[in-house]
Symmetry: C2
Subunit: 505 residues, 2 copies
């Protein structure tokens, strides 16, 4: 096939991908609307509207013309295309195959079970009855294994499930990393627990008017680079980053008048996600090449701003005055060291989403080990509560008072999302590894943070990560940016040094 004809075909593929991306943007906006501003009585109809749109999106994804265009492009010479164009072609192929390789019946059964599973899980959690959720969970695992055989027949079924969230990541890489983390973090947490130092967090509870919290969140998200001409910030039950396009990025938070810090760190976290979206490669915004790479890379961006920057000593230094001005009643007289220690307090607890950066990985490792063993059938669903509680005691020294606060706490499994949890801790490790490299590239970074100059940090992330889109695998991106593969040592020494200092270990 001549090059002109190949280019024409590529353009046809681009048109189809762009159409699908635009309709996907519509879906994302409808989702945001549902979570943020939809009147409550509209819920029933909204699911029908979104189902109709999901049907259209599915039809567009399995369009046989896409398949035939991809086949013909691969029959030709891909060297006719730029790196960016090749990426679009490969991404289109991956997506098309994932959408078409699974039998329709299995897709439907999974969709129905995920949907009903959510209700079953919510009720079981509310009533503290794991046994009511167990049969659904068993069935979901069976279906997700079947799904894996169709989607990635060459992979172990659990690896296939991980691949959806962190492409290329395998148990053989992950298990030793997580074992290392465990080996280092369990004693660290134990030492922190035994330390006589117990940071005061009393001043973080008080009366913090919500309008002032909102204004503060807007100032800080703007300071670190969120562009409000290309985005919004609103309120939802669970904070998230959504919106339909890099020019329309919508972050949310939630407010409680008795505390400002959780809400503020949710803003910083979601701003990190938002900056990734707003920083996408120009000129290809409706094409796969510019899309965020993986869940873990996305999480690395939110955690970068939340932990590497927001929980940084110099960040506290820069904003302490603003906190005092905004909430004088609670913050007057609070020292920088007190603030820094309070927002970095390490406190083992039952609930993952409330965990601090030291204990969080152990919540994840526990779930990873359980998922892995559920998939290889070395444990069975009925034993999960015991296994869960045993591991909680072993890793964090706490034991959940109920299954609702233990094995039933997370929504993920009820929707069939296995292999998702590792992304959180991979994201934390990536963030730390990126930060280590950034320290070499921006040698006065502490000074920049102390002075509130975040633009060099944002630019570094834009240039190194955001604009790279999907041009590289996560592994290659990490190597390209940091010169190293994923290496838990960065994360471990960061935690040891930081918490060693805070807790005088």
């Amino acid at each position: 096939m001549n090059s002109k004809k190949l280019k024409d075909m590529y353009q046809q593929l681009v048109n189809k991908l762009e159409e699908r991306s635009r309709l996907g943007g519509v879906m994302a906006t409808m989702h945001w609307d549902q979570e943020v501003i939809m009147p409550k009585a509209a819920a029933e109809n909204r699911s029908k509207q979104m189902a109709a749109l999901a049907g259209v999106l599915h039809d567009k994804s399995v369009d046989v013309e896409i398949g035939s265009l991809i086949d013909k492009l691969f029959e030709g010479d891909l060297n006719n295309f730029t790196e960016i164009e090749q990426c679009n072609i490969y991404e289109a192929k991956r997506e098309y195959e994932l959408e078409t390789k699974i039998p329709k019946q299995l897709i439907q059964e999974l969709a129905e079970l995920s949907s009903s599973g959510h209700q079953v899980w919510a009720k079981a959690r509310q009533e503290n009855k794991f046994e009511d959720f167990a049969p659904t969970l068993e069935r979901l695992i069976i279906l997700k294994k079947k799904w894996a055989e169709f989607a990635f027949p060459e992979l172990d079924p659990y690896d296939a499930n991980i691949d959806i969230f962190e492409r290329g990541m395998r148990m053989e890489c992950l298990t030793p990393i997580f074992d290392t983390l465990k080996k280092e973090l369990i004693p660290l947490i134990d030492a922190i627990r035994k330390s006589p130092i117990n940071p005061d967090i009393g001043f973080l509870r008080g009366n913090f008017p919500i309008d002032k919290q909102e204004a503060l969140g807007r100032i800080i998200s703007k300071d670190i680079g969120f562009d409000y001409d290309r985005g919004r910030m609103d309120v939802s039950v669970h904070p998230f980053c959504g919106g339909g396009h890099p020019t329309d990025v919508r972050i949310t938070t939630r407010y409680r008048s008795e505390s400002f810090i959780d809400s503020l760190f949710a803003v910083i976290h979601e701003t990190g996600h938002g900056l990734y979206e707003q920083g996408r490669m120009l000129g290809f915004m409706d094409l796969p090449v510019s899309e965020p790479l993986t869940m873990a890379i996305h999480e690395s961006q939110s955690l970068f701003w939340e932990r590497m920057i927001g929980q940084n000593f110099y960040f506290c230094d820069h904003y302490l005055n603003l906190f005092v001005e905004t909430f004088p009643e609670s913050m007057q007289g609070v020292s920088l060291d007190t603030l820094y220690a309070a927002i970095n307090r390490c406190d083992p607890s039952f609930i993952r989403v409330e965990a601090d950066e030291v204990t969080y990985p152990l919540h994840i490792i526990l779930r990873y080990e359980i998922e892995k063993e559920l998939f290889d059938e070395s444990i069975s669903v009925k034993d999960l509560p015991d296994i869960w509680n045993y591991k909680m005691e072993e890793y964090l020294g706490v034991s959940p008072p109920s299954n609702s606060e233990g094995v039933l706490q997370d929504v993920h499994w009820s929707g069939g999302a296995f292999g998702y949890f590792p992304s959180y801790t991979l994201g934390a490790m990536y963030a730390c590894q990126f930060y280590s490299k950034m320290l070499l590239d921006i040698n006065d970074i502490s000074k920049q943070i102390k002075e509130g100059n975040f633009s060099c940090i944002k630019k570094w992330l834009n240039d190194n990560i955001h604009k790279a889109g999907r041009l590289y695998s996560p592994e290659n991106l990490l190597y390209k940016v940091t010169g190293d593969s994923i290496n838990p040592d960065f994360f471990i020494s960061y935690l040891k040094q930081k918490y060693g200092q805070i807790y005088s270990l």
Copy 2:
């Protein structure tokens, strides 16, 4: 064909109509989002997203399976179906034919010209250069005549254009009605102008904090029956009633701190539209039978609440105290008669959207006469400014200082919407005729309004108009509800009596 098979086919048609309706609801929500909360830099991409969705909607509308189902249903015996089912079938047929009878090339040319026409018009208006808009207008008329030949070959082209907005309405009915209005209103306005009475409106200008205006609008819209569990109120540049479903009705208004009354009446007007949407027939909300009947009937509902109720003496009586409490600085000491006269002040002006209820119909009649004569070629586009100014002087005794404030003031023609304007005054006449009947059905209506009991009024409109959906033609609905055809006498005597009293004529 047996009845079971016919029922199956009907169900297939219903499934397709519901899918299309749901996707239409998505489009409406996207439109609302665009007008109300979208970040400004998202505009360019949003048009692409909406164009992609419009493409999907078009494909669904011209789906040949819909055509074939309709054909087969008509080959069978429609007596197998209830009145509601028959209505859905007829509506589906009308919509399908309108979508499929027009050649694709003409649709595209119209879409492109309407889109570019808007820019051309906006620039011409800004620069007061009618001659820059004239060629576009000429071309739009030619295309809309062509369109009429395909859409309704049996109708006069202008009648065909009217039919899109007010089905069944023809010039032969409209011209004598508008002539009667003209004959009666021109002398009435003249008498008002010569009256020594000149209502004070000074107190309506002042400082009205926007949060108080918003709270007031919410109270009153709620009082008259807007259900905030199934709707919202927000701010947009131009007030409108949108939203994606009867369970998700979104009205908007705009605020200026120097005046509260325009914003409040916009709220009441849009609430009238919103009550129509929220009041739709239960059980068929995604099917054509429950949809609002026509533009003019929709406008009759907004104008009913704005004029028949909101500008009513007893409405002023009920809310004067609340106005005083809300805005004591401006409203303290204002008497009921002063308030009533001020909100009903008649004042001929150049601009249609600012016109009061007495002068408004003449703005419409002027446009109707011009459109009619453009279509039958008894006038030509180049002469429009002169014709416009001459008629303004003749009908309202005022002459616009510029074409921007004259022939270029309205957006409608730039989008090819000819035959739309009559709906406004038809709506006003319908509202008045409905009100006359309501006075007979609810004999203590003034007392109810004075006491702020609007539920009997809302129920009457729900039962008589909203729930009727598309079961009847506008003509038949009017006859069914009021026992009369459209009769301008109701409107004329209402205006003569009301303004005769206010201006002591």
